[in-house]
Symmetry: C2
Subunit: 527 residues, 2 copies
């Protein structure tokens, strides 16, 4: 995994240009898709030059005191104009950059953040906080926003203090995953939060969006790893005490976790760390019936064994992304510990799987776990290559109770297939569990469909609406860890209890009275 710092970021697609899918890998990928979807067009398209995009001049000028923080470079501004969803990448490839931030502003300290917010509040300029820009829900995209800056926290990237006794560190929000781990490694510590975006996302982004990480059980969200938060709001700086636990009123941190830049700018956090694991055990388990696989996974999720990895791939996901042909799918299991052996836990887990018809694969061999992990890290790059070939490739995710899952999956698959048919897109839908809880799974769906170049965004939007409606109709959450952003608003609004929506509006009006912070995310912008 190359560090974010070590490459040239793509303005239009995922990650670093140097890591793009090219040559033989690209050819093989397209070949596999051609075999799966023989009617697909699969014509390669290349991104336009930035000079061709017609980016207008900035409509705002920073006060002289803040000028040193500001970039009006078109490439910089275009690179901050949206996230990295399929629809973002395709619009970039088509040269449809839409609204672009007037300036990219890079504060060098918290005082700068305060000053920038003061300026923007006075001038009525919208502020979109920007970490790694890996949003897949329109979280960093100006949309009917007017004058707007992108507030890139990338210069606030220090690990300020490490408390080895408490295994915690005070970390600035703009640090990227690899740099953070590099800084913690000498202490024998790790945050162990590895979202798929790990290389190209920041601590602040994870916190603002309640991202889901490495652990399939227990510590599933970044929320659980937070000891305290420091947040700059237009109404003042909020800093919570460093506490391992508290019962003093509603949690202040939980208000800002998931606030997606609408209530304040998270500038730093004390995060709970882990010792680096020294013991590991893992296995893959094949099933002949998917229902059995789900029941086995549920038994495991309720066993208290707490595997670090517990990823059930359905048959299509297993085939496409783990190269495993198994009619009931494959369960990828992993245990880890810095303290004690984990073989007994794995053995008991496999026993539970066998009780439900599972066939553990011989260990030690390069198995589905390894294959899948490699594929996992390449997925966003492959997504870009496929998108450039006119494919519709996107994911969405949710969580529901175990009892609700079978009907939910049927509803989602059926809605996706129907929508693909209506949109004239031939394709497949995959499902895996990224996280599991005693009371239910977090299913993650993938869509791979042939599209019509120039229409794939509209085609995807139709599919996305259909599957989101299916989630909503089945009382599942619109997002388990991708966040709400602008794209999920209609379904989020349905899901959110009305009194809580009213409460959130009241908080917004209090902490951000000018309504400058990420307007349109979570809440309607003030007009």
């Amino acid at each position: 995994m190359s560090a974010q710092g070590g490459g040239t970021r793509s303005w239009w697609g995922w990650g670093n240009l140097e890591d793009a899918v090219t040559g033989a890998e690209r050819k093989a990928l397209i070949g596999r898709v051609a075999a799966l979807l023989p009617d697909a067009e699969l014509v390669d398209h290349r991104p336009p030059d930035i000079g061709e995009l017609g980016v207008g001049a900035p409509r705002v000028a920073a006060p002289a005191s803040l000028d040193r923080l500001c970039s009006d470079d078109p490439a910089d501004r275009v690179g901050h104009a949206r996230g990295k969803a399929f629809r973002d990448v395709v619009r970039n490839l088509l040269g449809e950059v839409g609204e672009v931030p007037d300036l990219v502003v890079r504060p060098r300290g918290e005082r700068d953040v305060v000053d920038v917010l003061d300026w923007c509040a006075r001038a009525g300029i919208a502020v979109i906080p920007y970490g790694g820009g890996s949003s897949v829900v329109g979280g960093v995209e100006p949309r009917d926003t007017g004058q707007v800056i992108s507030l890139d926290l990338g210069e606030l990237a220090d690990v300020i203090e490490v408390d080895t006794a408490a295994r915690a560190a005070r970390i600035q929000a703009g640090i990227f995953g690899p740099a953070l781990e590099d800084r913690l490694r000498p202490h024998g510590l790790t945050l162990r939060h590895f979202p798929q975006s790990f290389e190209f996302s920041t601590l602040g982004g994870w916190l603002a969006t309640r991202s889901g990480g490495h652990y399939a059980t227990v510590l599933t969200h970044i929320d659980d790893l937070v000891e305290s938060l420091r947040v700059v709001t237009p109404a003042g700086v909020s800093e919570s005490l460093r506490l391992p636990g508290s019962g003093a009123g509603p949690s202040p941190d939980r208000l800002f976790l998931g606030s997606e830049g609408t209530l304040g700018i998270i500038t730093e956090a004390w995060m709970r760390l882990q010792a680096r694991p020294r013991r590991r055990a893992g296995a893959s388990v094949l099933f002949t019936r998917y229902d059995d696989a789900v029941t086995a996974t549920r038994a495991l999720a309720q066993s208290g064994l707490n595997p670090a990895n517990c990823r059930l791939l359905d048959p299509m996901e297993a085939l496409l992304n783990a190269g495993t042909d198994s009619p009931g799918g494959v369960l990828v299991l992993g245990f880890e510990s810095a303290d004690h052996p984990v073989e007994a836990a794995l053995e008991r887990a496999l026993e539970l799987c066998r009780d439900h018809g599972g066939s553990p694969q011989p260990p030690r061999a390069r198995n589905a776990s390894d294959t899948w992990r490699t594929a996992f890290l390449r997925m966003p790059y492959q997504r870009d290559a496929l998108a450039a070939h006119g494919m519709i490739v996107e994911t969405f995710e949710t969580a529901c109770t175990w009892g609700a899952f079978p009907a939910l999956r049927e509803a989602v698959l059926s809605a996706a297939r129907e929508a693909m048919r209506a949109a004239g897109a031939q394709g497949v839908v995959t499902c895996r569990f990224t996280h599991v809880y005693p009371d239910g799974p977090a299913p993650y769906f993938g869509v791979y469909a042939s599209g019509r170049w120039g229409s794939t965004v509209a085609q995807w939007d139709e599919i996305k609406t259909a599957v989101s409606d299916a989630l909503s109709a089945n009382s599942a959450t619109i997002t388990h860890h991708h966040a709400v952003g602008r794209d999920h608003r209609p379904w989020y609004d349905r899901q959110r209890p009305d009194p809580f929506a009213a409460a959130l509006h009241a908080v917004k009006s209090t902490l951000d009275p000018s309504g400058i912070l990420n307007p349109g995310v979570l809440l309607d912008p003030r007009r």
Copy 2:
């Protein structure tokens, strides 16, 4: 443990009259105190008759439609006038009942709750939600409140639905601990939330106060067991989706958890349950140095072994409440599982303890664990007996990081001793960890001091102020699981970040625009 339903509730003290400390137990208890504190007065005092208390007539009358829910019985009203803190019990014994709710109102369904809030909002009558009334922080006590009703949720005590696949149940808020467990037992399930108040507190109370329960690690607070909440606010009913996890905006549930009746009335919740444990292993470990015991406990908390019980008693706590004379204190350890053996986890835990100088006690014998558990359940009753004998007996609790703990403990012990000296009270202070986290412990302190009858509340208030200031000065939370109520307000206000305080005020104004809900708790009452 007798069920709450099976006895006669004491109006002035803890629990059921039938379970009070009497006869030989009372004599032995007082004898032990006399040996510890030879200067203590130890004269027994009895509660007054309710008829002597001079309870005034109610100042409000319910509308005819709600009359069937209302009680104006003086005993009922006095029984709802305050919680069960030491200062509550002593004031009751002294016949100083202070403000008494004008009516006790017992809704029989959620519609009644809505109607009562409508009436009170229109009439400007304060509403104090009441579960089991076990608050030790002035959470249910009218204080300079004016017209006020106590809204007793005790009739909303049903388990409405059990989802055995998800191991979850939809439960009404007014159910008491034993009744809840009785209802879950036939399903092989348990909430496994056993605060010390278990017999005399309710689900709704636990949720509103973020109570701490059975598990010393991981699932320490009731917060973690919540799947969804239903809350009646004056601005409408809020109901969150049943979700095992979500990342859709800030958590709605986390706003109501810990809101202590100030934002709405929790009427029901879907709660995550556990299978009843079948495997158990436990031990006690003695230490010669307390510092070593703390280090061992930290190692355990960071090991990922996740003991269900991990209670470090300091030497004085071990002596007084576990009958164990150990210069470095005693660590009480317990592991449990419904799925797999736990002996290996215990063995590894004991190994960690030995590494830090611990001496595991021979298992199987009736050891410190058992002694301590029995004492735990009798403590509130003994507290009442001691309070009636002019003793000052009270607890307070906090949480802090491991690095902060030694100085915090010193500061608290020193502040308590100094305050006792200043108040002319001879006594001792004990400390135990009720819960432990990878980043720090939740220390729980006990004060046992001789007081002057008639002045013990004032004496305690001086001690409480001193120790709370010490917590505050050491950046520890004013409460880990006792809640804020009215008594902890000054220190809570210091601890709470100002922008969050402003946000909470805004939420309060939106959800409870008339300011009728539990005025004075968490926030200043509206005047």
